[in-house]
Structure formats: structure tokens, C-alpha cells
């Protein structure tokens, strides 16, 4: 057996545990959902199997398109807001002295050791009528009552929930940027805006693309935040899927909607990949 073949074999063997995990925990459930999305349901909530396209046909109802559109809008908005704020935070951290950076990164993560639901509830307290923000507003004479429920509260807590996901990839790509490039840009007469627009943003493009992707995709699946902070009047597609699986006891229809969301997510990932490749190519050319 030649050396390369043995290496190949060893490599393949080492892939086995990871492959099994992905197969059992990712691919199998996805295949089950995909299969269920073509199944026939009965009014009692049973899954009768069989094959039908009815579930997908039902999703053509404008009601679903409306919720889908709203969710996509929300996800795009959240991806942009998170990436912009994430860029600012990541730039701040990346330009601090090297030995202070780990501490700052740790500060970004610490709140996330607390349960997601608990943090969402704490936003209700912060933004609610007895909270500090309203108290401050009253103190300076702004007649405010409560920020919950509101769209602003939803956007704010979505930003809070996904910010670390945006900070890390941007920070990772910024760390690779040589600090002397900033000085070079300054020497060549670039101001603050030009330094960012022509040096930092292009050089951290792959991090920015990952950030957009990593915040956009999970926002589509969020369902607790819109209920608790938005009043639940404008459901996201995640809420709709929960309703279909539980109250409407229609697993196949819920599965079909999940598949649509899944395809949308895959398209986004593919697009982000293409964008990153084009940008990287341009840079190296």
C-alpha cells in the first residue's frame, strides 16, 4: 500500500464519526421533513403518508406569501443592522492592543451563557413601563409609556440576540489585516471614510458575507421574540410553522413550509458564497 493511499484511508476513517453525526442529526431529520412535506394529513392530525402536492399548493395562498415577505424583510433588516453594528464592534476590538482583545471578546460572549428566554424576558423589563428607559424618558419630560410591544423592541432584541454571531467572523477577518495598512492609507491622504471604504471593508469582505449569512438564516426561524416583544400581531414564518405543527395539527403542511424556508436559506448561502468568491477574486487580480 502506497503512502498516499494509506493517508487517504486514514483520512477517510477520521471522517467517519463526523459523517455519522451529520447523517443522524442533520440529514435524516431533513429527509423525514422532506418526505412529510408530500404526505397526506387527516383532520385528526394523523400523517397518512402517500404522495400529494396539495401542501405546496396551499402555500400559494397570498396569506403565506405575506408572512413570508414580512419575515424576509425582517431577516434582511436584521442581517444589515447586525452586520453594521458588528463591524463597528469588531473594528473596535481588532484595533485594541493584542492582549486586551481576548477580554473584550469574552465580554461579548458572557451574556450568552444565560438562557435565551431569560434574556428575552429581561428586555421586557428593560423596555417596559417600569423599566429604566421609560424612567429616563419621563425624567427628561418625554411622555412615554411602554416600548413593549413594538416593532422597535423586536428589532432591538433581534440585534441583541444575533450580534455575537456577526462580531466573530468580522473580527476574524479584520485580525488578518496588517495595521500598517491603516497608516499607509493615512499617509496617502485617505480620511476616515476612505480608509474604511477602500481598505477595511474590502479586506474583511469574507467576514462581512459570513455575518450577513449567519444572521439572516436563523432570523427566519425565530418565533419567541415576535410574540414576547412584538405582541405577536405580526407573525414571522417561524411562528407560522409552529402553529401549523401544533394548533393546526397539520404536520405535512408545516413540513412543506419548512422546506420552502430551507430552500430559501440554501439560496442565501449559495449567494453569499458567490459574492465572497467574486470579491476575493477581484482583490487578488
Amino acid at each position: 500500500m502506497s503512502r498516499t493511499r494509506r493517508d487517504n484511508l486514514a483520512g477517510a476513517l477520521m471522517m467517519v464519526p463526523a459523517s455519522i453525526v451529520i447523517l443522524v442529526l442533520v440529514i435524516v431529520p431533513m429527509v423525514i421533513i422532506a418526505r412529510d412535506s408530500f404526505a397526506v394529513s387527516d383532520p385528526l392530525g394523523g400523517n397518512l403518508g402517500g404522495f400529494t402536492l396539495d401542501n405546496y399548493a396551499k402555500l400559494l395562498d397570498p396569506v403565506y406569501a405575506k408572512t413570508m415577505g414580512y419575515s424576509l424583510g425582517m431577516a434582511v433588516l436584521n442581517a444589515i443592522v447586525c452586520t453594521v453594528v458588528g463591524y463597528v464592534v469588531a473594528y473596535y476590538i481588532a484595533t485594541r492592543p493584542a492582549r486586551r482583545q481576548p477580554l473584550l471578546l469574552l465580554l461579548v460572549i458572557i451574556p450568552f451563557l444565560t438562557d435565551f428566554l431569560v434574556r428575552t424576558f429581561s428586555w421586557i423589563t428593560l423596555l417596559g413601563s417600569g423599566g429604566p428607559i421609560i424612567g429616563l424618558a419621563k425624567l427628561v419630560g418625554i411622555p412615554a409609556t411602554s416600548l413593549v410591544p413594538s416593532q422597535a423592541a423586536v428589532v432591538l432584541s433581534l440585534l441583541y440576540a444575533f450580534l455575537p454571531v456577526a462580531v466573530f467572523p468580522i473580527y476574524a477577518s479584520m485580525r488578518a489585516i496588517d495595521p500598517s495598512l491603516r497608516e499607509a492609507a493615512a499617509d496617502l491622504g485617505a480620511g476616515w471614510w476612505q480608509t474604511h471604504a477602500r481598505v477595511y471593508v474590502p479586506l474583511s469582505a469574507s467576514g462581512l458575507a459570513s455575518s450577513v449569512m449567519l444572521t439572516f438564516v436563523p432570523t427566519l426561524g425565530v418565533f419567541v421574540i415576535p410574540v414576547l416583544l412584538g405582541g405577536g400581531k405580526d407573525p414571522l414564518v417561524g411562528n407560522l410553522i409552529v402553529t401549523l405543527f401544533t394548533e393546526f395539527r397539520n404536520e405535512p403542511l408545516g413540513a412543506a413550509l419548512s422546506m420552502v424556508v430551507l430552500v430559501l436559506m440554501l439560496v442565501t448561502v449559495a449567494l453569499a458564497g458567490v459574492v465572497t468568491r467574486v470579491v476575493t477574486k477581484k482583490r487578488s487580480a
Binding site: 447523517l23 435524516v28 429527509v31 392530525g45 396569506v63 405577536g232 407573525p235 395539527r249
Partner: protein, 355 residues
Amino acid sequence: MKSKALAAVGVTVVAALALAGCSAGSGSTSSGGSTKLHIYAWSGEIPDSVIKGFEKETGITVSVDNFDSNETMISKLAAGNSGYDIVEPSQYAVPLMVQRDLLAKIDKSKLTGFDNIAEKFVNPSFDKDNEHSIPWVWGTTGILYNEDCTGAKVTGWKDLWNPKYKGKIYMLDNMLSAYIGGMQVEGLKATSTKKSEIEEGTQALIEQKPLLAGYNSDNYADLVATGDACIAEAYSGSASAKAVASNPSVHYIIPEEGGTLWTDSFSIAKNAPNEDAAYKWLNYTLQPEVAALATDDGASASANEAALKLVKDQTQVTNPAIYAPADSLKKSEFIVDPGDALAYYQDGWTRVRAS
């Protein structure tokens, strides 16, 4: 590449079949002297004191899992081989589970103390002769309001349609519960199965939506107690009772247009592995002094008539957020499963939510 992908699909299919096979092969081993009992119940409805007492008296080890919706419970049982002996469905879920053959018929001759159950839960509309369910706790769907905020007494559903409270009104985030208000405010029965009537209810809910702060089944009681909400459709029980107790301006009422009852019952799962222990559980919980603990330790209303006078804190029995007064319940009906009309409700509710 292609053959690899095909192989992956093949393996996946085999794995899926294997999983399906596991759940399909449900073996039932019912033994005479079981030492274990597996219960699947609503969270917070069986106080620890009841479980401890049962374990002490019978020497049977109890394990309890909780669910937060009937649908979750049903799908777990329907998947097969759940291993549960006792389950706790709500009234509308009982016929659904009977039709899907998930519940065992209860042999009344093995029960003692069934005559302790209050009259309105004996032979109920959802389960003839209590063949599959023994009511444990009950409650109502009504209105929780904060008088400081409304500035007036609230009497019925129409107040949840009052523009005066715009942005301070909450409805329950649950289709059938929201339709109770939507139907009864129009003078219709909450259990209607007529398409045209359900459409009227849908229109009422769509009309109401701009007035709402939101749909909420999680923390509405806190919101009313703090005054962030003036008025909310609410379930009776511990959350509402706590809100009423914490603030003298907070009241729980049964709306004058009607109101509805719910009840959560103990049932024996089909092919229960420890059927014998399950009957011991039913008999244990039928005792008035045990049933009274549901109120004392769980702030739920007991379906056991004989238990009422045994409740230690009698203010709980007169608290309308736990025990609705008998005269307010005259018009109340049990919410039952709408059957085929479910499609009309679903269609309507989807439109309400997207409007």
C-alpha cells in the same frame, strides 16, 4: 460524486426505516404488580405533594414528564411506544385521542370514589359516561382586567372590542381560545361548526386586531397586574390567581355573553405498560383529601366535589380566578373539537393573523 450522493441517500433511507421500525414495534407488557408509573401531564397541574403521597402509599416509583399543549402530547403518543401509563388530555383532546385509538377504556368497576366527581364533569359532552377520562382539574376562559387602567367595571367580551382601550388589549395566542371571544361577542356559540357563523367570528377578530397590543398566552397576567395591559382574555388558574392576589385592582370575570369551561382529565394510555399502577393512580387521586391538594398546592380548581370543603385555604375556593362562581357558569359550555369545521377556523385564523 454522484454515486457517493446516491449512497448517502440510500444509507439515510435505511436509517429512516430503522427509526420508523423502532417506533412501530410497540410491545406491551402488562404485569400484575408494577412498581413503576409513567405520567405525562400539563406542567404545574400535579403538585409534588400528590406524587410523593402516592409513592409513599403504594411503593410505586413515579416519573412525570410535562407538556405545554395537547397537540405535543398527542403527537408523542401517536408516534408509538411512548411508555406512558397516565396522560392528562384537555376535554377537546379526549375524543380526538379516542378516534386515533390512543386511550384505553377505563374499567369503572376497578374505581372507588368516582361519585366524588362534581356533577358537571360526570358524563360530559366530550366523553360519554367518562369511558376514557376522569376529570382532575378544571377552569374557565374569561377576562382579566386592571380597574385602575380601565377606570370602569368590565362585564363582557364587548369590552375587548372597546376603542377606549386601544393598544392595551391582549387576546390569547391560541386559535380556539381567541375564537371564544370572537364568536361570543357576536352572540354566537363558541362551539359553532357553521361556516357562515365562523366567518362572522373571523370578521370580528379582524376588526379587533388594530385595537390589540397583541396575542399572548405567556405573560398576559403579569402585563395586566403591572398595568402594561388593561384587559386580556385569560385562562383561570395559577397565573391569573396570582395577578388577582397581587393587585386589588385586578379582577377575573366570566364574560356575560357566555364563557367557556375547560377540564384536564386523567386517562390511561392505550397499551400502558403499567396498567395496574395506572388504576392505583386513578383511585388515589379520586380521594377528596388528595384532590384538595390540586387547589392548595397547585392553585387549580379540583373537579372533585367532595374535595372543596377540605381545601385548607378557603379563600382559594371563593377566588373567581380559580373557582368561577356557579351562577356565572350557567351559560358556559365546554370547548369541544370542531371536527371537520376545524378547516374553517384554521382558514379564518390564518387570515386574522396575516391581516
